[in-house]
Symmetry: none
Subunit: 209 residues, 4 copies
Amino acid sequence: MEAKRKVSTVARLKPVEKVSKRRDEILQVAAELFAAKGYEETTIREIGDAAGILSGSLYHHFQTKEEMLHELVRRFVTMVPHYQAIVDRGEGPKETIKEMMALGLRTAVSNPEVVAITVHERKFLARHPAFAYVQTAWRQINAVWYGVIQRGVDEGVFRDDLDPRLMLRAINDLAAAAVGSYQPGGRYSVEEIIDARVALVFGGIERRN
Amino acid sequence: MEAKRKVSTVARLKPVEKVSKRRDEILQVAAELFAAKGYEETTIREIGDAAGILSGSLYHHFQTKEEMLHELVRRFVTMVPHYQAIVDRGEGPKETIKEMMALGLRTAVSNPEVVAITVHERKFLARHPAFAYVQTAWRQINAVWYGVIQRGVDEGVFRDDLDPRLMLRAINDLAAAAVGSYQPGGRYSVEEIIDARVALVFGGIERRN
Amino acid sequence: MEAKRKVSTVARLKPVEKVSKRRDEILQVAAELFAAKGYEETTIREIGDAAGILSGSLYHHFQTKEEMLHELVRRFVTMVPHYQAIVDRGEGPKETIKEMMALGLRTAVSNPEVVAITVHERKFLARHPAFAYVQTAWRQINAVWYGVIQRGVDEGVFRDDLDPRLMLRAINDLAAAAVGSYQPGGRYSVEEIIDARVALVFGGIERRN
Amino acid sequence: MEAKRKVSTVARLKPVEKVSKRRDEILQVAAELFAAKGYEETTIREIGDAAGILSGSLYHHFQTKEEMLHELVRRFVTMVPHYQAIVDRGEGPKETIKEMMALGLRTAVSNPEVVAITVHERKFLARHPAFAYVQTAWRQINAVWYGVIQRGVDEGVFRDDLDPRLMLRAINDLAAAAVGSYQPGGRYSVEEIIDARVALVFGGIERRN
DNA sequence: CATGAATGAGATTTCATTCAT
DNA sequence: AATGAATGAAATCTCATTCAT
């Protein structure tokens, strides 16, 4: 398990294509503001101020404010194949789910802004056709999860008295919301949070005698 | 159990004080828009259009747009004593948690907009001192949850190999995110979703032999 | 001939549909500025200043600056059927051409801004697909002219030693540019200008012995 | 007549003073864009893009965007003495007018951008004092035309039943608008267009028996 | 209660121009 | 000569709010 955790070389989401150093700095600043206040609540002037540049000058690096958001959520979308890759390793459902939860949480921890933005801006993204590819990515990740859980039930590893769709949603929510439990420099490490959630998902909170 | 479920006489969150019928209609329209698009993304004109009134005329009913939001999240805040009331009934931790999850989900289902707004607008509300009372309410609800879980661990009903704080967050997330699983007229009833989540929380997904 | 001239009840181009008095006033102000400085050179603030309104308030009456331009050139487009109507009266080519020139000039004189804008902004309008209907209108008017001249040549009323297409362009230019010769309160009346141009078109400048 | 046409050694308008090859290339590119879209509608970046240079680098060749426009319309202004030269040859009014129309059209055809810009930007140039010299040039050309027509009327070569000022405007318009009839590689040659317009101006379109 | 016109602050974006390298 | 980053003014547009009628 330890070895496998190291697999996630993708935890640090990279710009799809490197363009310029200054541009990346600005993008990082924008990401932090988008994550803290939301995309629409963040003004181009705030980004400029935080990046030490006049708002108008941002347009040397980005054509529109929307382009910044695209650049960020596009990084999220690159996660999809990594979920599939875990499944393709062909391990048991329990191990697979563990890995998937770990991937999600570790990605979120290494790229808190990108994940926070993609999650928090979900409604906005859904309303704007230009971001349809994000919905597609969500759907694909969902499909991967669903396949694993279904297989677990089929193979008799998971309970069959629970509707798999409802199980899926619950696990999914648990994995997604894990981000909120981690605070850099806080009480718990990423691994602790992952372990706790995984333990809960598999065993529940009730004590066995 | 059936009898206890009926307890939730508070599932339908009411205006804190009744003022006028037209005002309530407008508020309902605003709630739907806030829930669908977010508070800041919703314009006063959209509310007017949807309510069949000119935007300027809204100011006969509300002093500001913010007042509408206050009115809505204030309804959420009224939930706090109901959580406390469940605990005060003095039942076992397991039963108590079941009731609390049920309360949360049933409230969310009966008042989807109010809950969705309070959850989705969390960052916005946190940034604005005028809404500090919402943070207080969250903290109080959290404290109630924490007390119950701690008691469960102390009494040996819940596992003691998991950090109670992490358990709390997980259960909390599970309860809060349950809203997203319910769709009016969808595949699952509220009770089914509650039962599935409760089962998962207590027993986990792993099959017992 | 006098009677026929009165036909032009359309010389004063009307708003396609009456909306509000204030809106019309603003539109008139905008028309004057567009005509004087060009559409793109005119700022929304100048329009506001000239109309005694803040620039932002213009958006109560028009959704965009472009909408103002549409409203104006759309009035021009309504001219098309009137050209056709003259032809449909079935008079001789000479008389028909006289009437068409008179129609064009009288329209231009009564609506100098609308015509000036449509003519001066031709390149801009051609580049923007939203204004394609203006090109269509020009083409239709052109077709009417061409038909009349061709008929004149066929019937032996007009010279056949000149290419009709070149004749058309020349007459057209003469008719269109006539606008520039008229100045309200200036030396020449509309009728004088029309008569002079018509005389020139038919007889040329050379003296007959 | 053939011989006289060759007179127009000035048909190709030259830069007033040669500075650098690269500068001329850029100016040509700018001219094309100004002609196609208008001066104000053309951005410095578009010029840079079309010239294969960054917009900022244009300022190594020109101090301002306006300087480019000056350079172009200044070429137009050099036409004035050539009109005067035709008159000074002392031929009859008819021949003189023919030559003047030919000069105008041939210049326009050989330097379509410069002429198109000077004509199309007329309003802009009139509003800006820095371009007053262009107005002066127009006025001078006008004066030359007027003198010729007046002489034609005085000498009994032209009709005296038409106001010379109105005749002037008409002929002028006809000459100026001729540009629009010529398309490089199109149906008609420059000479054909000139001949047609000259014929129309002198004889009109009506057939003589 | 409602309308419709207006306000005024602020948002995103454009663009000629500057300048260190 | 050219690059590329930045400036700063101005443009279009948005929107919560006000107010006379």
